[in-house]
């Protein structure tokens, strides 16, 4: 197939260009000195362009690795090799599911370019995104467990009552990877940064949403004002963009967080094609201590494509209609008894 040949050729060229090791935090590859990014005309470090944060490093350290925070170079190469072998297989061969089960009801992601291994992946030696010897999300407080159980119980048995009962992602309101902190999802992990005086804007391809981050020193709005992805206020510390995010809407929780979720993000360019993204999450009503994760963003080719999620979201209608048909059938069956 011509298009396949074209895609394969592009992939080979990209592999040659991208399969390079990049330098340590804040240091350029050749000199080992701190990297100084270009600056915008008004003097901000210039982070503009197209980026991806696509990685398969898990949030939490896999069980059995203990306090091992980093793989050796050899172990990392094994992981990469394993991932490449997996991607070379299609979904059916590589990840078979039992026919007739809910798990089998999906399409072959690799067939539709939705396997994250089919796009550029950023690798590093971390065993988990969460840094430190523990590598896991801290213990959830008992009151937070209770709160989350109550929320889950409220919707139980009403999951298909109407659109409001469906998950935010199924309604195209806010998807996982556009939420804060910014972590990759299965596909479309493409971002664009644009800067102007006093503002940084970050657009995520998944749902085509734009975060507008004032860097003018203005404060967060009053606590009563809540946003799906919180309110972001940025400032520059040397070459790093630091963003303080508060005023989250608890209806879009992050890993079970509540109304007091607070996130601090730090973007640090380490060479012309790489940025480190570090996030610290705290919520005194959810975890017993703050926790921090780190991953890299790497430059990709633009542009960002449209993702007009609501325009084509037939799935929501089909799901709700399926529930109505099932209810009707159940009522008929009951009447005939």
């Amino acid at each position: 197939m011509r298009h396949f040949a074209f895609a394969a050729a592009v992939a080979v060229i990209c592999a040659l260009v991208w399969l390079t090791s990049v330098p340590a935090a804040g240091q350029s590859a050749q000199s080992g000195k701190a990297y100084t990014p270009a600056h915008t005309p008004d003097g901000q470090p210039d982070l503009q362009g197209f980026w991806t944060n696509n990685t398969i490093t898990p949030m939490e350290r896999p069980k059995g690795l203990g306090a091992k925070e980093f793989y050796t170079e050899e172990e990392l190469n094994d992981l990469i090799k394993h991932e490449k072998n997996r991607v070379a297989l299609n979904e059916e061969e590589g990840r078979p599911t039992e026919p007739g089960t809910d798990a089998d009801v999906h399409y072959d992601f690799s067939q539709f370019g939705l396997d994250r291994g089919q796009t550029k992946e950023v690798w590093n030696r971390r065993t988990s995104l969460i840094i430190g010897s523990e590598g896991t999300i801290p213990t959830m407080l008992p009151e937070a467990r209770k709160r989350n159980a109550a929320i889950a119980a409220m919707n139980r048995g009403h999951e298909f009552d109407g659109p409001e009962n469906r998950p935010l992602s199924a309604r195209c309101i806010v998807l996982g990877q556009e939420s804060i902190p910014m972590l990759p999802g299965g596909y479309n992990n493409n971002l664009e940064i644009v800067q102007s005086k006093g503002y940084v804007a970050i657009m995520h391809e998944m749902n085509h949403s734009v975060r507008i981050i004032p860097t003018d020193g203005s404060p967060h709005p009053p606590a009563a004002i809540r946003e799906w992805r919180g309110d972001s206020r940025g400032h520059w510390e040397g070459n790093s963009l630091v963003i303080d995010v508060a005023n989250f809407d608890p209806r879009n929780p992050f890993r079970g967080s509540g109304a007091k979720l607070h996130v601090v993000e730090r973007f640090t360019p380490v060479d012309k094609d790489t940025m480190l993204y570090r996030f610290t999450v705290e919520d005194p009503e959810t975890w017993d201590k703050p926790w921090t994760g780190e991953l890299a963003w790497s430059r990709v080719e633009g542009p960002i494509y449209e993702f007009a999620c609501n325009e084509g979201n037939y799935g929501l209608r089909n799901t709700l209609h399926g529930a109505r048909v099932a209810e009707e059938a159940a009522a008929k069956k009951a009447a005939n008894k």
Partner: protein, 141 residues
């Protein structure tokens, strides 16, 4: 088992566990696992919309009548990046669909696997090159 193999298997196990949540909605809420189907027909339209594109196809029944089906498939963004465009699947193309029917019993299905009559898969992109980010992973720094 060597320590290295153990680490690898552990890490890979975590990755596999993440697979079912990739889609923006649970397919099992929309389609019925007890209604598997196989369809053979010709493409009449490919709606390249997000969050999922839809292939419209005509399926000839045994009695000579024709039934139109809509098949839910992948997001166009990813396919476009891998070199697939609307012209990659022109109307009139014969395809086979292996999937599951919608819960409401309508002529809608999730296209689990799509193939040409000769067995080739309809869309199959290659994998792009990666970058090693030593910056976040070097304990010596």
């Amino acid at each position: 088992m060597s320590k290295r193999s153990f680490l690898l298997i552990t890490a890979v196990g975590i990755l596999l566990a993440a697979v079912p949540v990739w889609a923006h909605h649970a397919f099992s809420a929309e389609f019925d696992s007890s209604k598997p189907l196989k369809l053979r027909g010709t493409v009449t339209q490919w709606e390249l919309v997000n969050p999922h594109s839809w292939i419209h196809m005509d399926v000839k029944n045994a009695d000579g009548t024709v039934t139109s089906w809509m098949i839910e498939v992948g997001s166009p963004n990813s396919l476009f990046r891998l070199g697939f465009t609307k012209s990659s699947l022109p109307p009139g193309t014969e395809i086979l669909v292996d999937g599951y029917q919608a819960k409401d019993g309508a002529n809608l299905a999730v296209g689990k696997n799509l193939t040409f009559p000769d067995g080739r898969r309809l869309f199959l992109g290659g994998s792009a090159g990666d970058v090693k980010d030593g910056s976040a992973g070097d304990p010596k720094k």
